[in-house]
């Protein structure tokens, strides 16, 4: 997450206008700027940079709290252990699958919801508030209600759809349930970001398009979507990074049974339950790298349309 926000923040800062010599006043102003930033920068370093460096340092050691005497420096052995392990790749596959499917569904549903919220005329406040309720509920609480709903005999969803089987004990159903819970929970967030993008589309443009005979669908595809592309990308980026770190829904719904662990679950199991600081730190570094790669790919692949890079330099 920190990667993404800082990347976005960095990209939205405008580069210095010219390389001309700065006046005395300008220089003093810049110095003051740095001074004013300093406390924030120091805090950021303390709470982000240091844990990252420390995790990396831990990941190069054999360090298990159960065997404190056997602590030693082993370079990249932990990485070899993790990257050649079947459980890791299974979890990685599950995480990637959940990420892709849930973000795709969220994008579609979120867009629909955003259009509804944007276009509503009567009871606008009520519509917007009720649409946002799932996002306002604590994830763990929501996950518990999903779990109870899917428990045979006591849950209404299980009674309605599953008959006598226990859906959460079957791998495919369990993953489907996790995705469902995730989509239900975060679609409003997606819709909120997309609605901000919809506000960017000038009403005049839409009117002009309809004057030219564009149908509703054409207006949506040819006018609205291109105009709000940056907002869509921001929404996708945020949700992808979030979805990749999925933990609480899985923790409550299946606790990783039936091979439904995500990489975060696996890290938790090794670090907190297994007390293996070395392996656990290795996994968290790998997750960090994966998240960084996702953020980087989004910025690079979508090039000029990427958030913040809208030819700010040429102005």
């Amino acid at each position: 997450m920190s990667m993404s926000t800082s990347a976005v923040a960095a990209a939205s800062e405008k580069p210095p206008p010219t390389k001309a010599v700065l006046s005395e006043g300008k220089r003093a102003e810049r110095k003051l700027g740095w001074l004013l930033c300093a406390p924030a920068v120091i805090v950021m370093l303390a709470v982000t940079a240091w844990p990252i460096i420390y995790s990396f340092w831990l990941s190069l050691q054999r360090y298990d709290l159960k065997f404190p005497d056997q602590r030693e420096f082993i370079w990249f052995d932990n990485y070899v252990t993790v990257l050649t392990n079947e459980y890791w790749w299974t979890a990685f596959g599950v995480t990637a699958f959940i990420t892709v499917i849930s973000v795709a569904i969220e994008l579609v549903l979120g867009m629909v919801l955003a259009l509804i919220m944007h276009r509503t005329i009567v009871g606008r406040g009520l519509v917007r508030t009720s649409a946002l309720i799932p996002y306002g509920i604590v994830t763990v609480v929501a996950a518990f209600s999903w779990r109870y709903a899917w428990t045979p005999k006591t849950g209404y969803l299980a009674n309605t759809f599953a008959g006598d089987t226990a859906p959460l004990t079957d791998r495919a159903y369990a993953i489907f349930t996790i995705i469902l819970a995730e989509v239900w929970k975060t679609t409003p967030f997606m819709a909120l970001l997309l609605m901000a993008g919809l506000a960017l589309v000038p009403e005049d443009l839409l009117k002009a398009a309809s004057m030219d005979g564009a149908s509703g669908w054409q207006r949506f595809v040819k006018v609205i979507l291109p105009m709000m592309k940056p907002a869509i990308l921001v929404a996708l980026l945020f949700r992808t990074l979030d979805a990749f770190r999925i933990f609480d829904n899985i923790f409550v719904l299946t606790a990783g049974a039936q091979e439904t662990s995500s990489v975060s679950m696996l890290t938790y199991n090794n670090l907190i339950k297994g007390l293996n600081l070395g392996i656990g730190a290795t996994m968290s570094v790998l997750i960090f790298l994966a998240v960084a790669i996702i953020a980087f790919a989004f910025i690079k692949l979508f090039g000029t349309a990427a958030p913040g890079s809208d030819d700010g330099g040429k102005r």
């Binding site: 159960k66 392990n85 226990a166 990783g256 007390l275």
Partner: protein, 421 residues
């Protein structure tokens, strides 16, 4: 940002206030305990009915020397362990006496988190205590905890359907098949979900078949022929057609409920079900027997809780004293009768009131004297996770192959090398 530059002095003053608050917070928090000169012994124990009464007894017996304050740990074993482990890793001095599941002794001892029991305290903890529970509190020939209560599973059966309880798994399957042929409830319930309960069953079967999973020093994964034989028995049972259809998803209470609702003829479960089933279905006719073995009588896996004193305890002497009081014969009798937990001191089984509250005490005692301990290793948590993963679901066990995979992954777990699923 630039537009709302605040008055320059304000952040400064804020920073000072914040800094002062940060500095003062730990000092203030530290004043919380031990005020008005009382010595507080903090007891962290799993939720147990009526343990408050036992604590009150001990506070009275201490006559003001110390006061035990009971803090409940989470209900789930994983939650209990996580809380204690996290706090011990941070050298938290607010925990004095802790309840350890029998499988955690080695881990906590090896990590240097709990104190060894020596001298008089050790003698008192060992006096009259059953051998099995005592072994579960020992690591490398040193005593690290005082056994508070023990636990063994029994075979529970419908006495209106079954006359003589089966003594081995083969007999159990035959008996269930006979019932099935005569259209009566026949299902056998067992805790077969992917969790510790499955490990307990498998450990019992392995010990009963004369097998070994992990070497005595806890360093080598053995998984010998006996362990393979146990896999055969487990697979045979799971595919026999008499096991519950939800075997691979059943935990203690699922099994108890199904038995209680007359859907089963047999169940393998802990003694707590006795009181629960009587309350839940007073008309149910049931009886109990020793857990069925492989060829002869079974060696049943021991469960239960031990009391350990933290290395970082503020009042060690008082903590040892309090732990001894909480588990003394009289208090164990009280807990057995009021909370249903089997005692670790042999003489308590004959104590007053036990025959009524604990009619199955003779069977329990018989099993306890010929019991099995789960692998004793600091890496037990890892080992257990691996065993339950490799064995799940029991229907798809392929004895030789599963044993080979188990041996390999178990060795990695013992060396804390592999990745935990």
């Amino acid at each position: 940002m630039r537009a709302t530059l605040p008055d320059r002095r304000r952040p400064h003053r804020m920073a000072i206030a914040l800094g002062a608050a940060l500095l003062a917070a730990p000092v203030l928090a530290a004043c919380g305990s031990d005020d008005d000169g009382k010595t507080i012994v903090n007891l962290y124990y799993a939720p147990e009915d009526k343990l408050e009464d036992v604590v009150a007894n001990c506070n009275e017996a201490a006559a003001g020397r110390y006061e035990i304050v009971y803090t409940k740990l989470p209900r789930e074993a994983d939650g209990q362990r996580e809380q204690m482990v996290r706090r011990l890793a941070a050298e938290d001095s607010d925990m004095d006496v802790m309840s350890l599941d029998v499988t955690w002794t080695a881990e906590f001892a090896e990590a240097g988190w709990i104190q060894e029991w020596t001298g008089d305290a050790k003698a008192e903890a060992e006096d009259g205590t059953l051998e099995g529970p005592l072994a579960s509190a020992t690591w490398e020939d040193k005593l690290y905890a005082a056994p508070k209560n023990t636990n063994v599973q029994l075979l529970w059966y419908r006495s209106d359907l079954v006359d003589t309880p089966p003594e081995t798994f083969d007999e159990l399957i035959d008996a269930a098949n006979e019932l099935k042929d005569s259209d009566q409830p026949y299902v056998v319930g067992m805790t077969g979900a992917q969790y510790e309960g499955l490990v307990v069953q498998y450990n019992t079967l392995t010990a009963s078949a004369g097998g070994t999973l992990v070497s005595e020093d806890g360093k080598t994964a053995v998984v010998d022929d006996g362990a393979v034989r146990a896999l055969e028995v487990l697979k045979n049972f799971a595919t026999s057609g008499v096991a519950s259809t939800s075997l691979s998803n059943a935990k203690e209470d699922d099994v108890r409920l199904a038995f209680q609702n007359e859907q089963m003829a047999f169940q393998l479960n802990w003694p707590y079900v006795y009181a629960a089933m009587q309350a839940g279905n007073p008309d149910l006719e049931f009886d109990w027997a020793r857990y069925p073995g492989v060829d002869g009588p079974a060696k049943v896996t021991i469960g239960g809780f031990n009391l350990a004193v933290s290395k970082y305890a503020k009042h060690s002497a008082e903590a040892f004293d309090a732990a001894l009081c909480l588990r003394n014969a009289e208090n164990q009798r009280y807990s057995a009768i009021n909370s249903g937990v089997p005692p670790t001191i042999e003489s308590v089984y004959d104590a007053e009131g036990m025959d009524e509250a604990y009619p199955m005490r003779d069977t329990i005692l018989e099993e306890l004297k010929d019991a099995a301990v789960r692998p004793v290793t600091p890496a037990y948590q890892n080992a257990s996770t691996i065993i339950s993963t490799v064995l799940s679901p029991p229907q798809s066990i392929d004895p030789r192959k599963t044993a080979d995979r188990l041996r390999k992954e178990l060795q990695d777990a013992l060396d804390s090398k592999g990745v935990l699923p």
